[in-house]
Subunit: 534 residues, 2 copies
Amino acid sequence: MARQRKFWGWGYEDFPLSSGMLENYTDMLKFSLGIKEFEDIPEPQIENLNLKEPRFSIPSELASICSAEVFDRASHTYGKSFRDVWRGLMGRFDHSPDYVAFPKTETEILALMRFCSAENISLIPFGGGSSVVGGVEPSKSEKYKGTISLDMRHFDQILEVDKASRSVRVQAGIFGPALEQGLKAHGLSLRHYPQSFEFSTVGGWIVTRSGGHFATLYTHIDEFVQSVRMVSPSGIMQTRKLPGSGAGPSEERLLCGSEGIFGVITEAWLRVQDMPTYKEAQTVSFDSFEKGVEACRQIAQSGLNPSNARLVSPLEALSNGLGKGTDTVLILGFESHDHELGKWMERALEICKALGGYWKVKEKRAEGPRDKAADAWKKSFLQAPYMRDELIKMGMIVETFETAITWDQFDAFHKGVESATQAALKEHCGGGIVTVRFTHLYPDGPAPYYTVIAKGEKGRQLEQWDLVKKAASDAIIKYGGTITHHHAVGKDHQPFYEKQHSSAFKTVLKNIKKGFDPAGILNPGVLLKEEDLD
Amino acid sequence: MARQRKFWGWGYEDFPLSSGMLENYTDMLKFSLGIKEFEDIPEPQIENLNLKEPRFSIPSELASICSAEVFDRASHTYGKSFRDVWRGLMGRFDHSPDYVAFPKTETEILALMRFCSAENISLIPFGGGSSVVGGVEPSKSEKYKGTISLDMRHFDQILEVDKASRSVRVQAGIFGPALEQGLKAHGLSLRHYPQSFEFSTVGGWIVTRSGGHFATLYTHIDEFVQSVRMVSPSGIMQTRKLPGSGAGPSEERLLCGSEGIFGVITEAWLRVQDMPTYKEAQTVSFDSFEKGVEACRQIAQSGLNPSNARLVSPLEALSNGLGKGTDTVLILGFESHDHELGKWMERALEICKALGGYWKVKEKRAEGPRDKAADAWKKSFLQAPYMRDELIKMGMIVETFETAITWDQFDAFHKGVESATQAALKEHCGGGIVTVRFTHLYPDGPAPYYTVIAKGEKGRQLEQWDLVKKAASDAIIKYGGTITHHHAVGKDHQPFYEKQHSSAFKTVLKNIKKGFDPAGILNPGVLLKEEDLD
């Protein structure tokens, strides 16, 4: 039997956190936040959920692909943000979808779209359900008769492998691990590892412009999208398989980031990589954050294009098992299937050294150089969502937000965002911790990623977080950043997204949507307000 | 006094071709095409042009920015393709714009748009006028009262330099040389050199997705566009200055390639480069085209990312002063402001050597290694449009077309396109030459660039070329390529463009356009058919 996934939180029910990981972290929290006692919120039980009856009936021709099972409906009610997990823990599933559809063909998807359009039922494309921005959450509005969540899990095949062009055609519902396993047989890898990797899909990555493994050049899935096939209520859009083009505005880039409001991605050709055989890794410490930032800027502009370049602030480093909380840490990596990378790393380290960076010289080992700090980071990175759930059960408010900003603005931006968030934490939670890292680097600026943690007040955590999040988001917009670098917009970021683009672009989105989805049933409230669809 | 530009062809009236260049080329043509005698078409004289009277009057508030001078109208009638130059030489200016407007402010542009929208006059954004795809040509249709060409030459300033982020804000009407001269003062360079560099503008590059200097990674201007400002009849769209974002579909990518049908780009923030101080250059020969192609594929997939990697077929090499017409030549280059590139070139040459590539070892010189072949190529590249005009005056049909295709399809594609073009040349011109080079390389495929030359029949050259071009374009679409990699769509490629995208995408374009340009006056016939705007 397949392992059971939590209906209320991240991942598998039976996943064991690394021993001591949670204890170390809570010790740190006790110490730094002066916490004496944690809450102990019990996990919700599926048999206790009391979902509302579906508000409409499914026609017989769609009955076989639609489920009204409590587990299906509950686990398609939310994504995986703090807001989602907390509401799940509280057993709040009032706005669960009325049905979950599991189509196996495009014809079935089109039939669902026809039914929903005719009956005014909102239809929400659902990949892995790992959204942290309210991207898969049903409308609460009375204007729809109800909601169907459209789960793409049966679109899970690798359809074609073109080794000469290093490209693969895949169905969009395939999950990260299945994709990598299938590619491995051909010596290939997409090498796109969002933190959600295990429980997210290619289609989800494309429509949310997910951020992956590569710290430079191939920061988003966008770069790997060679062509796309999308089913919309108005028909199918298929783009041509091309390595590059200058014919009109990019069709693929229009669908990247469309978040299910135009249609459902069913297939894509992806650009993949050879498996890297040469790797260089080094962890560099700086005695000030500013020096680390400057090293990142110079490396980002050097043309060396490291695959890995994560700058971690002292406190965040500490909480991830990197260093003692005094140094800023830069995790640097290069990888290639084609050539030794000694020269690349040598030059990157020269840049660091000139700025006072220092590091331990490592022994070369038979299986290639390892970097314990980088390994610790990776382990911590993948387990983070599991640990987050545990912390939420302890009554903690724990969440991340992320952005991008040009180098010239970074100092003022970072100070502005950090202090606005700290002030809001102080006001609404009596204090808390804000840490930062850079997840991706561009020649013209970094993508800062903030982690927030605070002790919540019993039963009020959602309200508290929403106030802090609003303060942080307002600051991001005020100081010139983007409301999201790779988490997407969803419902949660929509009001801030609207502030960062021209009203002219809102008209563009509305006009495109009207063409694809004349009845306005697809993922309402995402990217555009529900009112905008009238 | 400023040098006078030709109103009928490329560049300055008084530009001198390098001595012997034309003679060598015509000797080659005589030999390979068996030409005994060339035509001698006289250049048209401005005083002999008999343009139609403007079909409407300009309101007094716009009078000071509009010209009905014959020279202005004539030089805004066409772009710079073979079709354009040939018609210019023949003195065919029947469909010249009624006026040319030279606005200095966005307010004036908006006033022009209001006037044209109210009066049903088509308005054509005009940068350098270097389109080779009918991108700036007035409508012949009766449905418009007339045409105004909107020349952006007064928007020619560098407005802001952000050295930390290596970004500059420029007005969109600035020409290539003025931009580079302005950047040089800051030690910066855009390093985007389309063949039209001297007579094209930033705004033109953006809306046509121009292809530049870099053979890999930064192949199109798209990569350098950080933010854009566009004036449309419905108002102004301004995107945020960001190094990267995941908020909704890319706003910049929607305007890249919009070819003036949504609005006029007035400003952009561009990502620029440090001036390179380290350069490696080498010219490698292969005894077969196939081996050269395979070397390109391996280099494109190696992650070395050369700045230059042009593969030139034997005959094309010969006509550009590279080699004896027996070898396929690969011009390879690396450049950096940050580090020595010996290791990079070493590895690229290893790849070539394993495929039988060979080269002359060069002496290192004080000013850095030079590469005579690369220099010859550069000289030939920049003078090519001038020489093309001379050849057209001699009655020759001479033109290029370009595309991109994935590696798995390349062999069949190239054979298909080349033989269809050859067959059409045989049928319509009694024969001719087709040569190829790769201008840009992607991990998943090359961008092949074809040059066609044939002896025309007096007075019939346009008709002959149109038949050949149609055959070539049909083959490009049939064998899976794109109708353009970096020349854009314009009016000329519109019927083929329509075949390469879904009808769903046509609806997208129409819906976006309706929002920006409700009266349908902007650059009609480009990207969309004029009928599509009804």
